[in-house]
Symmetry: C2
Subunit: 317 residues, 2 copies
């Protein structure tokens, strides 16, 4: 009998679950829209239903437990969601205990970006490395760090809140309520917001013409079509990311930086300017650190959560 | 027979050596001015002479070896000084091998700020904590991180270059050659440079009057004497440090932040405004992280280096 893990990735928009083997293969996968406004009970019920469906499909595989990842700040030492900004009802919520109760299986809980870092470390772009900084650039910016061959957790398991490194003194207001955070400059919404402002300033651009929506895909598409403003905006976004990655390199000294999240879909478009800025801003001893694209993409969190579950309950030490 | 360690702290201005027992007690201590312009051989000879003197004073204590700390970037995995900005002749220099050869004792080599972090962790302000960010604010800004009960080393042992986190895009030129680094804003010389400019702008101040020297001690003295510009400058310096500490809290999630280095001599003067800014800029879950002053002061590196030596050669595992 083979042991499989169920992994759950609780996001602000999508709720995903998968059955995964110990080699990181996804054997089954389901996704629904998160009932982000309906409160914690409704979300727990959604998770429970998804896990039920996965188990029903599993025929005779044995289910080791459920690895769950969710946005932070999450006190993973105590299993408490301190708050999930994108989902209602999870303030100081005993998420681990509630999940164990409603799923009736062993549960491992991890911050979603840390889980994604583990996924890329064990089965993705960071395979074989001892020191990885994983950065997800999406609606927000999150991170997970592997240092000296171990997951960096810190107090309450809350290390790696990369998006809230301050990059501009008294700068733009961030979702977290503070000012000048990396997330407030480098995230997808920040990128799109800059594009809207600049398009409205009458710059030479097709962005927003005929009331077209200005979002990240539209900006990248325009840049590829040689729209001057879009090209400039992409270069600026890459500058912001390149500088942020420089700071992370100096702070953590990783063997490589892995970029994931929605903006990693346009990695090829961004990476030349990211690398240029990264190298220009880094001290010599850090300039050759590679920056790679996530390999597991949207599944890195699920695969990482399953891997943490296997490690906790299965792997002989 | 008791085993003692010799510790050497190689700084840009001072070269210090001490004999230290396994409880962190300094039993003997010598200091000379570093021959920073004379080249690597001359400095090695200085170290050798200091260690000789310490051994001669040691009577019948047994010497376990020598723990050496030096400014980075230092590849401590291979024992190579990549460059020491403040001392000539150490570019790509095989420091560990040369030290072992000239001292004829087992040598452990560590970055000075990491050694200081270890000192504070084992015997100082961080005693009993699993997660510590140690920040030295002095001629430069350096750091050492203890995470999940271990020293964070990273690729080539170069983690913790806190001073080169970018805090202002395309900002002030830093000693490292890049722009906008934390060190270029928060270090002692940056603080004094701001004071000189502002005093010359005809602000209401006694700073620099009758050609008095404007340096950090002068600014703090003037602030204590209620000089308006000096008070403002101290508040600004605390803001810079507070924001930097916020970033470090979000990145590493420490149990506490320990501030050392020359500016920690004025910790009491700085800490109210540092804490105010730290709390204003931090996410709720991080606001209660304490910021404490180094307890070991100028000896934290020596004591940490000795502790690393005891750990490597002595402590039963």
């Amino acid at each position: 009998v083979e042991a499989h893990a169920i992994a759950v990735d609780l996001g602000g928009t999508g709720l995903r679950a998968a059955r995964i083997d110990r080699f990181g293969n996804i054997l089954d996968r389901l996704e629904v829209a998160t009932k982000a406004q309906a409160g914690a009970d409704a979300v727990l019920e959604q998770i429970s239903e998804l896990v039920d469906s996965i188990i029903k499909n599993a025929s005779d595989a044995r289910i080791l437990g459920v690895g769950v990842c969710a946005p932070g700040p999450l006190d993973t030492k105590r299993g408490i969601a301190l708050s999930i900004p994108t989902i209602n009802g999870f303030d100081n919520y005993p998420l681990l205990a509630k999940l164990q109760e409603c799923l009736a299986l062993p549960v491992v809980l991890e911050n979603d970006a840390i889980a994604a870092a583990v996924g890329e470390w064990k089965f993705g772009a960071g395979l074989g490395s001892e020191n990885i900084v994983y950065v997800t650039v999406s609606t927000g910016i999150g991170g997970g760090i592997i240092a000296d061959g171990k997951v960096l957790r810190g107090r309450q398991g809350m290390a790696g809140h990369i998006g809230h490194m301050i990059v501009v003194p008294d700068g733009e207001l961030c979702n977290c309520g503070c000012r000048g955070c990396f997330e407030a400059y480098g995230s997808g919404p920040a990128f799109a917001a800059r594009a809207k402002i600049r398009a409205n300033q009458g710059n030479q651009t097709l962005l927003g013409k005929n009331n077209a929506k200005i979002d990240c895909p539209a900006i990248f598409a325009a840049a590829k079509a040689k729209d001057p403003l879009a090209i400039e905006l992409v270069r600026e976004e890459a500058e912001i990311l390149g500088r942020g990655f420089t700071s992370l390199a100096h702070l953590f000294s990783p063997d490589l930086i892995v970029m994931g999240g929605g903006l990693a879909n346009e990695f090829d478009c961004l990476i030349p300017a990211i690398l240029k800025n990264f190298r220009a801003n880094s001290m010599k001893a850090f300039q050759n650190i590679p920056i790679r694209c996530s390999i597991l993409g949207g599944s890195s969190g699920l695969i990482g959560a399953s891997s943490l579950l296997f490690e906790q309950f299965h792997t002989p030490k």
